[in-house]
Structures are given as C-alpha cells and as structure tokens.
C-alpha cells in the first residue's frame, strides 16, 4: 500500500514537472474562475448579512379599523401564523400608539395637548423570522395581510424592500452563473489539459499497459494531478479574493466610518468547502477524461 502511494505520487510529480507550462495555464484558469465565483458569492453573503441586520428594524405594520378585543386578537394571531411563522406579534392599541407618538415628538409634544388620545388607529406589528429570504417573503406576506378583515392598510419599507429584493435576486443569479462557470472551466479546462498530456504520453501509457499496470495505477496520477491543480488553483483564487477584499475594506474604512455595516470575509468552513469542492471537481474532471482517452 505504501509502495502504491509512493509510486503514484512520484508518477504524479514527474508528470507535473514534464508539462509545467500547460499546468500553469490550467492553474491560472482555475484561479480566475474561483476568484470570479467567490467574489460574487462573498458579495451575496455580505448582502444577505446586511439584509439580516436591516431585518431587525424590519416589521410589517398592519393598521386596523377598530380596536380588536381579546378574541379578535387571537383570531388575527391565528390567521397570521397560518401564513407564516413569525418572530413576534405585538398589538398596539390607540392609547399605546398615542403614547409612542408623544414620545417621538419629545419637546414638541405640546401640539398633542388638545388632541383626543384615540385619534391614531390601532395596529398589529409583525416581526418576521430572521431568515435568509425574509425580504423575499415580505411582499407576499403583506399582500396576504391586506386581505384580512378590518385591515386599513399594511405598511413596510415597500420601495426599498422591493429594490433590495430584486438586487438580491439578481445577485443570486450571478452567483449561480459564476458557479456554473466554475464547474465548466474546471471540468473542461482540466479535462482538456489532461487529454493533451495523455496524447503526449501515449508511449508511456502503451508501455504501462504492456507491463500490466492496473487501471487505477494508470489513472490515479491523473486524478491526483487534477486534484492538485484544483487545490492550488482554488487556494490561489481565495487568496487573491482575500487580498482584493482587504484592499476594498481599507478603502472604505478611510472614506466612511462605521456607518456602513462591517463587511466580513468567508468563514473558515466556507473557505475549506470551496477549496475542497474545487479540488474534487478538478480531480474527477481529469479522472473522467482519462476514462475516455484510455477507452477503459
């Protein structure tokens, strides 16, 4: 077993040294596509992160015609929960609304002196669950709430949410596209270079078959070669992204202070996952292209 591993490794290393120029090209391609993919993915996760921060201030306010009684409140609660689980539901009575308004006015609360304490409508404040796609659900939620009886108006950051929603949606498409790009480049480019090296090594492969090398013995080095390209390429891509990220956050730190939410880089598990997946992709890409070329 140990001999198998050492034999396979020495073969792999020899192959790599023999064709280092096309190896370099492959690795650069992988670096670039991993960089593109992880850039958009990083942007996406940060936007989601921002949206989650904003979520905390995000609530639906359902204005009602009449102050709901205890039974009515339960009915509303049931109907809301039937549509979606929510973090919190708060019923705000006319009095409570007045108090809040007064608090908001601070020194100017005198203007309310002559107003009746029940001139504001009662409302229900709904805090959606902090989920990744809370923003995408909020519109449907609002539409639903408007159909409930006794509802005057439903309010949320409509414009803003809608724009943000479409931005997130666009970003998600870009992430998926660049992911597909990543898969295509890794399998095609890696497979292509492996096929080229296979051609240049016809003699050696013929000899290996002559002396009875097993399929795995012949193919393992190619798998390892591809995997190594994937490993180096994706690690390089992530490293490049990290440099870019640092540069950008440095820029932002100078021009604006703490107003923008802090951008964060990938967590370690995500980095490991991206590198591992690229490594496997490249490994199997080259493995399967040897299958065709060797007519196994």
């Amino acid at each position: 077993m140990l001999n198998f591993i050492s034999a396979v490794f020495s073969h792999t290393l020899r192959n790599i040294f023999q064709t280092w120029s096309s190896q370099l090209l492959t690795v650069l391609t992988i670096i670039l596509s991993v960089l593109i993919f992880s850039f958009f993915y990083l942007l996406y996760t940060n936007v989601l992160h921002v949206s989650r921060l904003l979520d905390n201030n995000l609530r639906l306010i359902v204005y009602l015609n009449d102050e709901p009684g205890k039974a009515m409140q339960e009915e509303y609660r049931d109907k809301i929960l039937k549509f979606d689980t929510v973090e919190k539901i708060v019923f705000v009575s006319r009095k409570e609304a007045f108090k809040r308004f007064a608090r908001q006015l601070k020194e100017n609360r005198d203007v309310l002196k002559d107003m009746p304490t029940d001139f504001l409508p009662p409302s229900i404040e709904i805090y959606p669950v902090h989920s990744l796609d809370a923003l995408t659900r909020i519109k449907r939620f609002s539409d639903y709430l408007e159909t409930l009886p006794g509802v005057l108006k439903v309010q949320y950051g409509r414009e803003w949410v809608a724009r943000f929603y479409s931005f997130v949606k666009l970003l998600r498409i870009v992430v998926v596209l660049s992911g597909v790009l990543l898969i295509l480049t890794t399998t095609f480019v890696v497979g292509h270079t492996i096929r080229l090296t296979l051609l240049s090594r016809q003699r050696e492969l013929e000899l290996l078959r002559l002396v009875g090398a097993s399929n795995n013995y012949i193919r393992m080095p190619f798998f390892l070669e591809g995997a190594l390209q994937g490993l180096v390429g994706s690690a390089g891509g992530i490293a490049a992204l990290y440099l870019l990220f640092n540069w950008i956050s440095l820029r932002f730190a100078v021009s604006s202070t703490s107003f923008l939410p802090q951008f964060t880089f990938f967590s370690l598990p995500v980095i490991v996952a991206i590198i591992a997946i690229s490594t496997l992709l490249c490994g199997f890409g080259s493995f399967s292209s040897t299958r065709k070329a060797l007519r196994l």
Partner: protein, 251 residues
C-alpha cells in the same frame, strides 16, 4: 506421466491458433504449441514467419482469429481486463521495437516494470544495478535511453523484461544488434533467470544462439510449425526422432 500432472506443468498452451492480418496475411496458421514451466524455447524462422505474432498473442497484444491461447492455465480469450493486467505483471517482455521511453534514464525505464508490482524503491535500485552489471551497462544507469546505441537499448529492454522476476519471459530478437561477446552476456542472463525458475521463449533468427543448445527449437515458416516438437519433450530421450533440430550437445 498422467495428463493432470502434465497440465499443471504447462505454462503456455496454443491450440490450433490462427491469426490473419488484413487483408489476407496469414501470420500464424493453425499452430499448436505447449511449453512447460522452466523451459527455454527457441522460436526460429525467417523474417515474416510469424515469430513476433506468436509472442504478441501470448501477451494479448493481439488476439487470435481462431484457436485458444492459454497462459498459466488461463484462457486469454476469456480473461477480464483486470485479470489480464495481473497476468501481464508476471510476464516480462522485450519486443523488437524495445518500447523504451527515450527521455527517461536507463534505470527509470527498467524500474517501470517493477513499479507496477509495487516493488520497494530500494529493491528496484539493487536489482537494476545487478542486472545492468550483468549486461555490461553499469555505467549507463543515469543515461537517457535516447542517447544509447541500438545494441545498448536492446539490452535495456531485456533488463526490463527480467527485472520484475516474471514467471514467463518473452524476448524478440534479443541478440539482433549485438556482437558475439554481448550476446553471451545476454544469453547468460537469460539462463540465469531460467535457473531461478522463469520460463523463457526466445524468438530469433540468430542461429549462433540455438545451434548448440539442448533446449527445444521450433521452426516456423509462413505461420506454420515446420520443424521441432510442439509438445514439451519430457520424453525427448525416449523419442529422439521427433526432435530433429535438437542435438544433445554439451553446454
């Protein structure tokens, strides 16, 4: 001698084997030939007689159109790819075109046959040095094979064929490019391997290496056996009439 016992001793068995190349070159026609374990067998005949083709059939480089080829008790026509690969690891081959990798050193070329059986690198080194010593190539250990003369390349091919200690060694014109002295080196190496248990089949038209032998000599002409005993002559001494080619000279 009973037949069951006989079977287990047989390592190569061709039964009515024919091989035709396109369009209608009958390279091998209806050849039956058995070889015992531990034998040295000479396949002789003029150029184009079918010697190389028979060696190719024994390693399934080519497949017969008719007949059965058995090696080590296994019918090559029915062997799975994996089993064939395993069998090939126990067959050492030195073909006429050497099949050396020109950009690799002599040692690397020889190592390939042993690497596929996962021989330890230290063992590979000592065996390679020993064999090169025997073939008078000790100083070429690191030389790329492209820089060698044809005679030297030929010896490297033979070194590779025997390095993995195979049970069966197939050599095609092993002395084709060699002078008398180097020929002796090669034949000594082959008989050394034979004494250690390997069966050896030598395809050659170099009469000097089989003229004086007491091993079996088979002569082919136009793909047919025209001279020599196609079955192992366990009973050679009892039945000398069937072995016209072999004269029991001393070695």
């Amino acid at each position: 001698m009973n037949s069951a016992n006989n079977e287990s001793r047989i390592i190569v068995d061709l039964v009515k084997v024919s091989k035709t190349y396109h369009p209608d070159i009958h390279a091998v026609s209806d050849v039956s030939l058995s070889v015992n374990r531990g034998e040295i067998l000479f396949l002789t005949g003029r150029s184009g007689a079918g010697k190389t083709t028979i060696l190719h059939l024994l390693n399934r480089i080519e497949s017969p159109d008719k007949g059965v080829v058995e090696v080590a008790g296994q019918d090559l026509g029915k062997l799975s790819q994996g089993k064939m690969q395993k069998l090939r690891r126990s067959i050492g081959v030195a073909y006429q075109d050497f099949k050396l990798l020109p950009d690799r050193s002599v040692a690397q070329n020889i190592a390939i046959a042993m690497e596929v059986t996962y021989t330890r690198p230290s063992t590979i080194r000592t065996r390679t040095k020993d064999i090169l010593q025997r073939l008078g190539l000790a100083d070429k250990y690191h030389t790329p094979t492209a820089e060698l003369s044809r005679g030297e390349q030929q010896r490297v091919a033979i070194a590779r064929a025997v390095a993995g200690r195979p049970q069966l060694i197939l050599t095609d014109e092993p002395t084709g490019n060699l002078d008398h002295e180097t020929t002796t080196l090669v034949m000594d190496l082959l008989s050394h391997c034979n004494k250690k248990g390997a069966t050896i089949i030598i395809a050659t038209h170099d009469e000097s290496i089989y003229r004086q032998t007491d091993h079996r000599v088979i002569e082919l002409r136009a793909g047919r056996i025209v001279n020599g005993n196609p079955v192992p002559d366990d009973s050679r001494r009892h039945n000398p009439a069937t072995t016209e080619e072999t004269d029991n000279a001393d070695t």
